[in-house]
Subunit: 116 residues, 4 copies
């Protein structure tokens, strides 16, 4: 599905419920923080192996999908009120990063070069 | 642009740079936390009015776009290693939320009913 | 109450419950993230005025106190396993900041100079 | 050092610099989020072993101490404007948790019982 369409659908959803009165960037950035916290909570006590295989359990898989969706929903709503098209913003960032992290130089060197 | 294509492009980007060895869900959830912190930093001392008009300043607008893109990039990479198609996950969540927050009941009542 | 004593009390609490096996810095940093998210959630939809007067309501006041305590508890546990005495660390930081933000220069200029 | 004295010292520090005009609970909760993000960043790509031994490296140790102090500084400033004495709040929370997680029952069972 088209990312711009998803942004628009979320905007309509908020408009229909008169939620835009709460949608200042500060408020939405805070809501995003809170949702990331809920996503992080799922993984916080797991070993790397447990984290990597979490989707094998149907209950946890549903939880993960739900929290990922909440994070995306608030991120897109924040982008909406700031007038940012996220597909374009991500595309631009990837172009910058492709130059910043050229392939032969950075292979396996995330620690030295940082990441995205 | 198609959200699934963006997820795939980020996956290729990481593969080409041998970054998947760092991409455990715990690590990516932490990277996501850090990027959200950088996004929040932009808005933390602003008034509501300053936050709502931040995109009028070209320098701040570019900063905001860049941080929003970083958050999306890590969210999609986390979804990638968990095998979650984010367009489907968000669509499912919106269906659930449309039932949870029916239009006539919730108008302007975010405080009472919570949100997304 | 002495901060070092509080750190020690939390350490004993974890030892008695055999929780140290979960207390890797990554795990505790994630738990801290999650608790900050819960604290942020209380304030996310409030206006500045509502946020500033939240303690006048007994129920919310108790919620705020509880979440603040959770954040401090995880921060001190993280400091414990890293062997950091937080009273000393904060004292050192305040000495640095007193030089970085001299009084006559920075008055009312947080936006220009950043903060702590 | 006494935790209440630290809270008071931070309050004086902010007063002397006229920073209280920025210290709404929303703003300070956001600043706390940002500082936690910087703390998390240090650990995000590390293995459990690397994270557990990070203080053996003098440069990283100083970074960790500095970020831990920043998190505590904003947490205490947030508590200050909310009128919360953190030593009391933490003591009360530990009393609640001692009942919630009795020693013989919970040993080694954090996954089942949750934590703090």
């Amino acid at each position: 599905m088209n990312l711009s369409d998803l942004q628009r659908a979320l905007d309509d959803f908020a408009t229909e419920r008169d939620w835009h009165r709460f949608h200042n960037p500060k408020n939405l950035a805070m809501a995003l923080t809170n949702e990331v916290g809920e996503l992080v909570e799922i993984f916080q006590w797991l070993t790397f192996d447990q984290a990597a295989t979490i989707m094998e359990d149907a209950h946890h898989a549903e939880q993960v999908r739900s929290e990922l969706a909440d994070v995306l929903a608030y991120l897109l709503q924040l982008a909406n009120i700031l007038g940012v098209d996220m597909a374009t913003a991500l595309h631009d960032k990837m172009t910058v990063n492709a130059r910043r992290f050229p392939i032969p130089l950075t292979q396996g060197q995330a620690a030295e070069y940082g990441q995205l």
